[in-house]
């Protein structure tokens, strides 16, 4: 297998939406998510030399991002300890059980749904990466951001029939990519 190489020029176009969807379900704050992602890219650039080419570029970036997310939680929690009142536990003196108390109800359906949606979202993002860059950009604008056909045509300087050909091809490869796991 050829060793993976890093191409920071294409990171933003290729991976930023994937990283965003990965982050937003974990930090639940748009601004924070954006900050963490830009920090991740810069940290990646700085430690470029450490990349051994064994993992894919995206896996490597996700590994950095995970650390950033953990750091974010640490900072948040240490601030909480100083300035804010703690969550009210049932028994202030009881030690050792606080974590369990905070674990979500295992029968909480929304939590389960969110988790499944996250996996689905990342699966979609994964398949989007297999499209070529222009195709992906147009397909995303149309399908995720709900742009008008006309607006996209103007932006990319293409005709509506060009656009529909691109959309058709994109939808076909997306369906193929997702079929086995998600479209049954």
């Amino acid at each position: 297998m050829p060793k993976e190489k890093l191409n920071p020029e294409v990171w933003v176009d290729r991976y930023s939406d994937y990283l965003y969807n990965y982050t937003i379900v974990r930090v639940n704050d748009h601004e924070v998510a954006q900050d963490l992602i830009s920090e991740t890219f810069f940290a990646g650039l700085k430690s470029k030399k450490n990349f051994k080419g064994e993992a894919s570029e995206r896996t490597w970036l996700i590994a950095i991002l995970k650390r950033k997310i953990i750091d974010h939680y640490r900072k948040k929690n240490s601030k909480k300890g100083k300035a804010e009142v703690h969550i009210d536990y049932n028994d202030q003196d009881a030690e050792g059980e606080w974590l369990e108390e905070r674990v979500r109800d295992p029968f909480d359906k929304t939590a389960e749904d969110n988790m499944e949606n996250e996996e689905l979202g990342l699966a979609i993002m994964n398949c989007l990466e297999k499209l070529n860059d222009k195709q992906a950009a147009i397909f995303k604008m149309k399908t995720i951001d709900d742009f008008d056909t006309e607006a996209i045509c103007n932006e990319f300087n293409i005709t509506p029939s060009n656009l529909w050909v691109i959309i058709h091809r994109a939808r076909k490869s997306m369906a193929e990519c997702m079929e086995k796991t998600w479209l049954n």
């Binding site: 920071p8 020029e9 990171w11 933003v12 176009d13 930023s16 939406d17 965003y20 969807n21 937003i24 954006q34 992602i37 830009s38 890219f41 810069f42 650039l45 949606n117 689905l120 979202g121 979609i124 993002m125 995303k140 149309k142 399908t143 995720i144 951001d145 056909t149 529909w164 959309i167 058709h168 939808r171 997306m174 369906a175 997702m178 079929e179 998600w182 479209l183």
Partner: protein, 82 residues
């Protein structure tokens, strides 16, 4: 107007319909086509599942301005001598 359409046109209407951009007449012709064309029935079913998957996933994209900004900053950082 002809009620019979080719598969290519049927698929095109189906694509448009995923974005609510197919006209009433296009939808009629598509549905009529689907009565006798198994291949397009399969395409349409898959296409609709894909649309549903996108809706269900709640995926979002980052704003364009943000992406451009980061790209510029990364470029700058990269052009710095090491």
């Amino acid at each position: 107007m002809n009620l019979f359409i080719k598969c290519e046109e049927a698929n095109h209407s189906c694509d448009k319909n995923q974005y609510k951009e197919a006209s009433f007449w296009e939808i009629i012709k598509l549905n009529f086509h689907l009565i006798y064309c198994a291949a397009c029935r399969k395409y349409t079913a898959r296409n609709m599942k894909l649309t549903r998957a996108f809706k269900k996933s709640n995926i979002q994209t980052l704003p364009d301005s943000y992406k451009r900004d980061i790209k510029e900053r990364l470029q700058k950082e990269m052009s710095k001598p090491e």
